[in-house]
């Protein structure tokens, strides 16, 4: 598998603010990579730099092994799909789809052949002569995609293409998009602030904050092994539980404790965290909740709030000044005010260095 895109040491300054800071990234051919982060984290600027609308202050943009920093946007041939789709409102569907070919001066026959192929791939054949103002959301997205796909771009950049949509259509289009990408083996860089979109579609996710990439990995790596507090909290719904904790050593074991909630590690595991303030972090899905609160290993908590979601139920639990969320099967059906026993498997608990926010275990 060849490397399609390499960003090396990219930095972008606007005046005195740094939008992107020392960003290095590579995308393999056929890969679907998401840039995930809150608004203002620099992901859209990164996209604009790849597309050629912004020049990086420092660093290299390399596509297919060629440095393209000095290639102007209109000559890069990189496909770009916008959040609002940016369909040419004064043109028909056919004119939209053929635009890239027409500005390249292709003949009529070649244009019709290639547009026809893409139109049938995207089920737009019937709509070709319609004015673009009459299209619905799904059709608009397909026209926006088709418009760049006719050019067979080496790289496709998608800038939050689903975030303007209702929940229902978003799910459908998400599936359509991923299926199409796999069918065409198209290399995609996808920008989003929606962790569920990133998790469900990507081969790899790059989590960004304040202009830097904090972590790159497969969706499950990012979910299971976050390397920082930011990544841990940004991914996962309901959000991860984070509690300030104290460390004590009890007979070769390190015990991490928050109030009455205690987790024991063997010494080697937690050694690194022995200095400084720490926090314990664990996913609601990893919390074990039992009706039997008398069990010796369990910590007794009171059910504060119950949110049934159908396939699972989120329970808010409280004891003294400790409050956590847990996910239980719907059959468990806890009642508000009920006392339950809570335990957390040590191997599912992350320890975070409170000062740096880095996950130490």
């Amino acid at each position: 598998m060849a490397t399609k895109l390499v960003l090396r040491g990219i930095r972008k300054e606007f005046g005195s603010t740094v939008a992107v800071d020392d960003l290095t990234l590579s995308v393999e051919e056929g890969e679907f990579l998401s840039l995930l982060g809150p608004s203002g984290c620099g992901k859209s600027t990164t996209l604009a730099i790849i597309a050629g609308f912004e020049a990086p202050t420092r660093g290299d943009v390399i596509v297919d092994g060629r440095r393209i920093n000095d290639v102007p946007a209109q000559e890069r041939g990189i496909g770009l799909v916008f959040q609002d789709y940016a369909i040419f409102t004064r043109m028909s569907v056919f004119e939209n789809l053929s635009f890239g070919l027409r500005v390249r001066g292709l003949g009529r026959v070649a244009i019709e052949e290639r547009v026809g192929r893409v139109a049938s791939l995207l089920h737009l054949t019937e709509a070709l002569q319609r004015p673009s103002v009459s299209l619905n959301m799904s059709e608009l997205q397909r026209v926006a995609l088709g418009r760049v796909l006719v050019l067979e771009p080496p790289l496709l950049l998608l800038d939050e293409p689903l975030s303007n949509l209702d929940a229902a259509i978003r799910l459908t289009l998400r599936t359509e998009l991923r299926r199409l990408q796999q069918e065409l083996r198209q290399t995609v860089v996808y920008v989003t602030h929606d962790q569920i979109e990133a998790m469900s579609m990507s081969d790899r996710i790059a989590v960004m904050d304040a202009g830097r990439i904090l972590q790159i990995g497969s969706p499950m790596e990012i979910f299971d092994c976050p390397q920082s507090r930011f990544v841990a909290t940004f991914i996962g719904d309901p959000p991860i539980n984070i509690l300030p904790a104290s460390l004590t050593t009890v007979g070769g074991h390190v015990v991490v404790r928050h109030g009455g909630l205690a987790v024991a590690f063997n010494g080697a595991q937690a050694q690194a965290a022995l200095t400084g303030q720490v926090e314990m972090a664990f996913r609601p899905t990893d919390v074990v909740v039992r009706r039997d609160s008398s069990s010796r290993a369990a910590f007794e908590m009171v059910v504060d709030l119950v949110e049934p979601l159908g396939s699972e139920t989120v329970v808010h639990l409280r004891a003294m000044d400790t409050a956590i969320r847990a996910v239980v099967p719907p059959a468990f059906a806890p009642r508000v005010g009920e006392r339950v026993g809570v335990s957390i498997p040590a191997e599912r608990v992350h320890l975070i260095d409170a000062a740096s926010g880095i996950v130490v275990r």
Partner: protein, 319 residues
Amino acid sequence: MKATVAANSTRNVEAQAEGIRPTLVQHIPFAVWLIVPAEIVLLSVVVFPTLMSLWLSLTSWTPTSGVNWWQAEFQWLANYVQLLFGDERFRAALLRTLLIVVVGVAAEISIGLSLALLFFDDFPWKKIAISAIILPMMIVPVDAANAFFMLFRDVGPVNQLVRILVGHPVRFAWLSDSNLAIVPILLVEIWQWTPLMFLMLLTGLMALPQNQLRAAVALGASRWQLFRRIILPLIAPVVVLSLVIRSVEIFKIFDPVYILTRGGPGTSTETLSMWMYDNGFVYFRIAYVAAAGFLVLLVVLAYVLLILRPLSRRTAAER
């Protein structure tokens, strides 16, 4: 309709509260009251004189004829027939005005659009440059014309600059040569109002959907293709609107002509407004000028409606 009813009922409530007996006045809806003051002014100063001039245009009245204007001798369409078929000077003034409109608007649109495109991208000192470029449209038109009078005098700086460009002594009599005198008039108009065209088009450009432009660039459009296939169709309504507004304005051109040449030398720069001024206020051919005024009104109305109708229909359809 609904609003009018609501307004009526609130009025009635008010009237009862204040203990006023309903009078005829209160039956006139509130909505109509709002336009009454404006209407009184417009009726007395514009509509009444217009109707009066419709009457006058069908008579042979002049202030020197010794009868009151309403007792003037009625002569049907004689004035109109004379204007259209017998008055070479009027026809020349009309054609000259149309020429000024065409040349002026064409120059203003092409310069204004080029400038607006130059200012499309950001660059340092952009705001200051814009402020400088739009300064002419804020100058009092009479002062602008006077300034150009000074520039185009035979000892003025324009001749000096032309001389430097040509390389040997020339001294054009810009304002007293019947072939040249139209040039300073056109230049004042273009100088003063291209900034407005520039501002209108720049405002239009800035309101364009940025992503459509970026999408076209990413799809490989060159500067020219972007302009021709994306920008131009999108700002066409603004261009048409600017064109209508400016052409109607230039059609009325008077101040620069009066200041620079008074229509001369001879009648070589006489525009419609100048012609009407001379005939009305110098020769007192009031009835004749009234007829000309009506012809002009019809022409302008037809022109505006012809161009604006399809435009407003299209923008309505797009909403």
